[in-house]
């Protein structure tokens, strides 16, 4: 089994004093974090079925124990240079919510890194990055051991552009 049920691990117990825990992962040398409560599971990369006429950062869909889950390549989404998928390439399966519904989606990242506990006031607001990684997707920046970690707002990121449910044909029904 290549699936690691990270949520079961004992080290991750939310502490009551305003700290939130983040799962961080590497992407082109930078460390990014997502709210750990949104992480459903982490699994190894396995080939996906391509969906026609979708942007190239949509890798396709996979079968996750009977549900069809779309996979987003985060490098391609951020217009970073492509990296061949290797043994450390993982898919982080996330629960994404938007106004209309809750979805399960996977993101392909270079590798998972660590779990940090960060309080809200440790998060610094981010400057404007430019178009690809819009400041809107960034919840804030945190400094951990002199390193910068970019905390992502996955709801905004995975509901942006073509991934937005609202402009899909489905809503016209």
């Amino acid at each position: 089994m290549d699936t690691a049920q990270l949520l079961d691990s004992d080290s991750i117990i939310a502490d009551g004093d305003g700290h939130e825990q983040y799962l961080t992962f590497m992407l082109a040398g930078e460390e990014y974090g997502v709210d750990i409560l949104r992480v459903q599971e982490i699994k190894g990369w396995d080939s996906a079925t391509r969906i026609p006429n979708t942007p190239d950062y949509v890798q396709g869909v996979i079968n996750l124990r009977g549900t069809i889950v779309p996979i987003i390549d985060l490098r391609m989404r951020f217009n970073l240079e492509k990296l061949e998928y290797g043994p450390t390439t993982v898919v982080v399966v996330l629960k994404v919510s938007s106004t209309s519904k809750n979805r399960t989606m996977g993101i392909v990242v270079d590798g998972v890194s660590d779990v940090y506990s960060i309080s809200a006031d440790e998060l610094k607001s981010a400057p404007e990055f430019g178009d690809e990684i819009n400041a809107e997707f960034v919840k804030g920046l945190a400094t951990i051991d002199e390193k910068m970690v970019i905390m992502l707002d996955i709801d905004k990121l995975l509901n942006s552009r073509e991934l937005n449910v609202l402009d899909s044909v489905a809503s016209e029904k």
């Binding site: 079925t49 006429n53 396709g60 079968n63 069809i68 449910v165």
Partner: protein, 685 residues
């Protein structure tokens, strides 16, 4: 009470709606003059359960409304009131009011209070009239609410002796006393005579009985209500205390007590009799829960048992396997396959409901509409037990209503016209459902005027759907015009139908479910609309095709044929759009790899295959590399986690665990047309 009742609210709403459906259909079955007491009983029980439930949950407006209704029904049941047409109409109106009120609870919205008040007033008026007319002295006591006659009552003497097993049903006398206390001041005397010795004492049995003196101005009903949950598990006597009567004068009250018991006796029925009644109709339009017969669940449990046995046999075989056991392994696998298939069929059956859930609303609809239109129609339904997937059923409801309305409005003539045409003045509308192959057929037939082909043609020309009547000659094609958008033959636009919106929507909805609709009609004799629907939306027979490394699934139902391409039959229109000559037809070729941006084995048409498919009434040829196999696939939604993709209706999981996309032929044709158009627009620019 300390119990959180909100969790049961949804159950109450669902059960009440079911109860209302029962009331409605029973009311429609009620014959004026000679009413079947069993039918009235059914209605009464439904009303009583709603009253009890709403009282418990504190929905007092519903409770008080139902109370009036119940009193009226009680009189009908006792034979003191004749079942008259106005009474039935009033009862039907009150069912509508109650449904509004309960729906308002569900959506936490509001209901039309004025209407409810006016209906309630009407019911009360009816009660008052009849009560004064009533001659029977004996039953007068049961009709007239005691609180009206005996305004001097200052309280109630309650003798409450629970049956030994009352506590086991979770009823606690303390809670009831606490509630009684809320009504007024309480004097409780416990009778401990029945209490056994310590060694014989069973902790779960009730031994005590009580005599309670309640000083209050509450009505007897309010007191009854508190005991309503236990009235078949205890002996209860409620006596009024009036200043001039000594509460201890038991002899005097004895006669009254008998009456009280009489009054409460029928009320014992609801909790027991409610279950089978509710089962008969479990329709609730938006409810997401589903009621499943225990037989279906039992069958499933049996199958799971078999599956477990097969599995353990196989794992045992696997532990010490050698080639000599190969035959055994094969058998085991065959058994596993059989089990799995049976299991799949049974699980699907759980989602199946009899079509009566959908048909049930029609008696009322027909009743209302015929009154409005001054027509006489008898409704006949058959095949109500035919089972259909719940989702399909929900989506077919509105189209069916539309067709029934149409049949009543345009199909069946007025009684005068019918007599003039030498027909029975009472028209017949027939709803029929049956299985045929993997489909369910629903037929709506009337013995009305039939479709006037000449008028259909004229109207079609008028509304610009066709150019001249001579374009179309075949009957089926003429009838098909009815489904064209903007078509209506009605001379007068009534509020029932005739706006020309609808039939196209009906057809669209049925198509969206993967079904079809056909019309057969003879002028002067009648029309039949036949709807064909797939039994389930969850599974489809698919043809697996390969384009390069990708596998797609084409619904088998849309495939006309598959063939090898001969170069001579391929022509190019304007040097670009490819068409294939298929016998006498020309069909356009869609190269799937172009449309889906995949890498094919070969772009040479002769090296691949052409799958001729039909979608939206149009035939096209799909160019694929290879045909793989046919199999039943379980449809999974792409939308639930992603979004709808043009040309793809869903996805499925193949035997090897990978995902394959299921093609939506209609969408594919649209996609190809817009791609063509884009190209030609680009070429012009």
């Amino acid at each position: 009470m300390s119990i959180d009742l909100s969790q049961f609210k949804q159950t109450f709403i669902e059960e009440s709606l079911e109860g209302l459906d029962i009331m409605e259909s029973s009311l429609l079955n009620l014959d004026v003059g000679e009413a079947d007491p069993e039918v009235i009983n059914t209605i009464f029980r439904a009303a009583h359960s709603i009253k009890g439930g709403s009282g418990t949950f504190g929905f007092n407006d519903i409770a008080s409304f139902t109370h009036v209704l119940e009193t009226l029904l009680d009189q009908m049941r006792a034979g003191e009131r004749d079942v008259t047409t106005p009474a039935i109409e009033a009862l039907l109106a009150s069912v509508d009011c109650l449904r509004d009120m309960i729906n308002a609870l569900q959506d936490e919205g509001s209901y039309d209070e004025e209407r409810v008040a006016s209906v309630q007033k009407e019911l009360e008026k009816m009660l008052d009239n009849e009560a004064s007319n009533s001659q029977t002295t004996e039953s007068a006591a049961t009709i007239a609410p005691p609180e009206d006659e005996l305004p001097t009552a200052t309280g109630w003497l309650i003798k409450f002796s629970p049956h030994p097993d009352m506590l086991r049903t979770g009823n606690d006398p303390v809670l009831m006393f606490r509630e009684l206390e809320g009504l007024g001041s309480l004097e409780v005397k416990a009778d401990i005579e029945a209490l056994p010795g310590f060694e014989d004492h069973l902790a779960e049995d009730a031994y005590l009985s009580w005599e309670i003196k309640l000083t209050t101005d509450a009505t007897e009903d309010q007191v009854q209500e508190i005991f309503s949950w236990v009235d078949d598990e205890c002996d209860l006597e409620i006596t009024a205390i009036r200043p001039d009567i000594e509460p201890a004068a038991v002899v005097e009250t004895a006669a009254q007590v008998v009456e009280e018991v009489k009054e409460t006796a029928p009320q014992k029925e609801p909790p027991v009799a409610k279950k089978p009644a509710a089962k008969r109709s479990a329709k609730s339009t938006e409810a997401t829960s589903i009621r499943v017969g225990t037989d279906k669940v039992d069958a499933l449990i049996n199958l799971v048992g078999e599956l477990v046995i097969t599995q353990s046999m196989l794992s045992q075989l696997g532990e010490e396997f050698d080639m000599s056991k190969l035959e055994k392994l094969r058998n085991g696998l065959a058994q596993l396959e059989r089990n799995t298939r049976e299991m799949q069929e049974n699980v699907l059956r759980i989602r199946m409901l009899p079509i009566s859930f959908s048909f049930n609303r029609f008696p009322r609809l027909v009743h209302d509409l015929t009154q409005k239109m001054g027509k006489k129609v008898s409704l006949k339904m058959s095949g109500e037990q035919t089972e259909l997937d719940k989702t399909v059923m929900e989506k077919i409801g509105d189209p069916l209503v539309h067709l029934v309305r149409n049949a009543l409005d345009h199909g069946i003539e007025s009684p005068e016209d019918r007599i003039a045409a030498g027909k029975d003045p009472v028209g017949t509308l027939q709803l029929n459902a049956y299985h045929k192959g993997g489909n369910i057929i629903i037929e709506i037939s009337d013995d009305g005027a039939g479709i006037n082909k000449q008028r259909v043609l004229e109207k079609a020309v008028q509304s610009g759907i066709i150019n001249s009547p001579s374009d179309i000659t075949e009957d089926a094609q003429i009838f098909d015009l009815i489904f064209a958008p903007g078509f209506s033959t009605a001379d007068v636009v009534s509020d029932v139908s005739g706006r020309g919106v609808g039939m196209d929507v009906v057809k669209k909805n049925i198509k969206a479910l993967g079904g079809g609709i056909e019309i057969a009609s003879r002028e002067g004799v009648g029309s039949t609309f036949s709807i064909r629907l797939p039994l389930t939306l969850a599974i489809l027979d698919g043809q697996l095709v390969r384009v390069g490394e990708e596998v797609y699934i084409i619904p088998l139902i849309s495939i006309v044929e598959s063939l090898q391409i001969t170069k001579q039959a391929v022509n190019r229109l304007a040097g670009r759009a490819e068409v294939y000559r298929l016998r006498d037809d020309y069909i356009s070729i869609i190269r799937l790899y172009n449309l889906f941006g995949s890498k094919p084995d070969s772009t040479d048409l002769e090296k691949g295959l052409l799958v001729v498919v039909e979608g939206d009434g149009q035939k096209v040829g799909l160019f694929v590399d290879d045909l793989l196999g046919q199999q039943q696939v379980v449809i999974k939604s792409l939308e639930s986690n992603f979004k709808q993709v043009e040309g793809v209706s869903g996805a499925t999981i193949l035997g090897d665990g990978t995902v394959a996309l299921i093609m939506d032929i209609g969408g594919l044709i649209d996609l190809s047309n817009s791609a063509q158009k884009k190209f030609s627009d680009g070429a012009v620019a």
